[in-house]
Subunit: 408 residues, 2 copies
């Protein structure tokens, strides 16, 4: 992390930081460079195109509704997550944090956020004395998650953090420790755990709907348009890690775990980075891995920023198969059970995943309930990501302990 | 190979051999045990159920038609391959070799094979002086290929050998050397090289119809019914090798090579054998491998005898994808190109693959033309199979030379 300005303001604001300087020098053709891929988040540019702000500011539904400060007003926050607050029973947008005054004004007005609850990053620590804010929702580039989570815990707030949790297991451990010290909740926004298709798939697999699982395949890929690490945080190693695995591929990694209900005992892997392509100056274009589970099941995971768009999970067992394609979208999921009685499954609207995730977190905060996707899950997954890169680099099958730590 | 009777007669005949003894003792419920899986061949049992013999014996179409002795009258020979001889222009069944007199009689009559061209395994070497026989077509369990190929070359005949070529690269080299000494042709029956869908797929990939290939997935699996190594040669290590990889999985291995047009530079792999399952007393249930090509393309191959039936090849590139599912069947292939102009492709009847393969071999024999799928290809593939098992056993990524030999 050394050598980069760790604040979002540094990345995008009026002051220092290499990225900000780049932006100021006009090297980024503004909104045209905003990444349009799945799960895309903007790297601090102006308001993304096509954002639909609410016509009338939504209001909390319940007295005990949990007030969130949204940290980072990128495309994912503005287009996917914030609009879904209206569907939540017990969560509302209480504050926003951004380095862009124009965004603070426009988004603040649209969501009915009072002027004094529109925070710049400089003023972030003042949230400690703002009782309207119960929790922060971190929607920043991954490399910034740990520091802002620790600061939020320092301010006595609960933390809902976008996936992946952080770029190293050490950072994850730091976040967990800070949450424990502050006696505050930490949840990773693994939305698929709240999405009807994936929840149904977990249930079916635990009921052995395909028998014993033998082979699981996941694939998340799309072709990223021309860009550079200076223009797009997603291709910056310091902010995004190795690349597609941490971003889109995290969905496949998660699927492999919650569909099998197991942790892998070993992993082999391969990475690929084409030479001379500015998109892949710092990150991998492709990460593939092969996992072996204690049951004998094998998972083949692939994720790419340079391949035709896919988003699927296939599970094959001794008595049938489950085909999810698309598997983990915002909407439009499809799922089919193959075997003796093949059938299409449609367990509900995937769109509810955002609100359910918020309400789950709110219930945990208000009623002190356990969190389904806690920091420990994010840590576990980050360890697996580290194991995948280690296996690829060493050219060896890496053996894992049940908590995801590498054995040797 | 030590300790097992290397003749088919030994496996099935009236005399010695553990399997024959087992059969004689009535431990095999005869036809009921015949493996019904894809690519199935019988292990010397009586006539398989449902065999349709020709109503009238077919005759050679041309004077220079190549006369084949079919060695091994199992399900694949009787149900798939022999009936297709009528479609060939330049190949005909001239002789049959079997350890079962009843089969020799029934099949011989149906195919118009003269009584003195119906050979038992004991009499096999007499084919040397039988001018009606130009070549033998080996359709025996894999572990028997090498010895019978060498004997056929010793008798001065050309050899068309079912895939996989043999169970070790040493055996493959022995076969190639014997063919060279005898100045006779050796071809491996990789039928997909003569099947319109796969031929079209090779052409499309070489024309970069999906751009640069990034990810290739193949999967060949089915769930094998209850059986034991004594009942079914496919689950016997001495006759079948490691299991599904050599049998059904060889199609995926081949696809990965002819679709990318490359040899892998490294392979990691994993195998799985459930405990206490008689089907997997000697062989693996599952073999998965991950290949890295010099171009950066990655292939994920999986094959299983204990998973829901699949047979596909998916190729994803920088500009689209090619989906073949089923990919390498006897018939019923489907193929779809995804990308800017998605379309279903139907380049012709897959059923012609058998006759085209025969005619290709016949042309090579008669006109001394090069063979598209020579022994060297079978050797290359056997080396890759050895590398896959070595990678799985060592838990290491194995590096390969361009000829498929392991580097260290």
């Amino acid at each position: 992390m050394s050598g980069i300005n760790m604040t979002r303001r540094g990345l995008i604001g009026a002051g220092g930081g290499a990225v900000a300087a780049t932006l100021a020098a006009g090297m980024v053709p503004a909104a045209a460079r905003i990444q349009a891929g799945t799960g895309a988040r903007v790297a601090g540019q102006p308001m993304p195109d096509g954002v639909k702000l609410p016509a009338t500011p939504p209001r909390p539904k319940r007295q005990d509704s949990v007030g969130f400060a949204i940290v980072g007003l990128g495309g994912y926050a503005l287009n996917q997550m914030m609009p879904r607050f209206v569907d939540a029973e017990r969560a509302h947008v209480a504050a926003i944090v951004s380095g862009n005054p124009d965004k603070l004004a426009k988004v603040g007005d649209a969501y009915g956020v009072p002027g004094d609850a529109r925070y710049s990053y400089d003023r972030f620590d003042e949230i400690a004395s703002d009782d309207r804010i119960d929790a922060i929702y971190i929607v920043l580039p991954t490399g910034l998650h740990a520091d802002w989570a620790v600061r939020a815990f320092g301010a006595g707030k609960h933390v809902l953090c976008e996936k992946p949790m952080a770029l190293s297991s050490a950072d994850c451990e730091r976040m967990i420790a800070a949450g424990r010290r502050a006696n505050r909740k930490l949840m990773i926004a693994y939305r698929s755990h709240f999405e009807p298709f994936n929840v149904e798939a977990m249930k079916l697999m635990s009921q052995k709907a395909v028998g014993d699982i033998r082979l699981l395949r996941t694939e998340q890929s799309y072709r990223m348009g021309p860009t550079t690490p200076r223009e797009n945080w997603r291709v910056s190693r310091a902010l995004a890690g190795g690349g597609p695995l941490e971003d889109y591929g995290i969905y496949g990694l998660q699927s492999a775990l919650y569909l099998t209900g197991e942790m892998p005992e070993s992993i082999s892997a391969t990475t690929f980075r084409p030479t001379g392509d500015p998109r892949f100056a710092e990150i991998f274009a492709h990460v593939g891995s092969q996992w072996r589970f204690p049951s004998g099941a094998v998972a083949h995971l692939a994720t790419s920023y340079d391949s035709a768009g896919t988003n699927f999970a296939h599970v094959r067992g001794t008595r049938g198969a489950l085909i999810m394609d698309p598997a983990t979208s915002y909407s439009g999921q499809k799922m089919r059970l193959e075997g003796r009685e093949p059938r299409e499954l449609n367990p509900g609207d995937p769109g509810v995943q955002f609100a359910r995730q918020l309400d789950h977190f709110a219930d945990a905060v208000r009623d002190n309930k356990p969190i389904r996707t806690p920091g420990e899950m994010g840590l576990r997954d980050t360890r697996l990501i580290e194991a995948i890169y280690a296996a690829a680099e060493r050219g060896q099958t890496v053996r894992l302990a049940p908590d995801g730590r590498m054995r040797g």
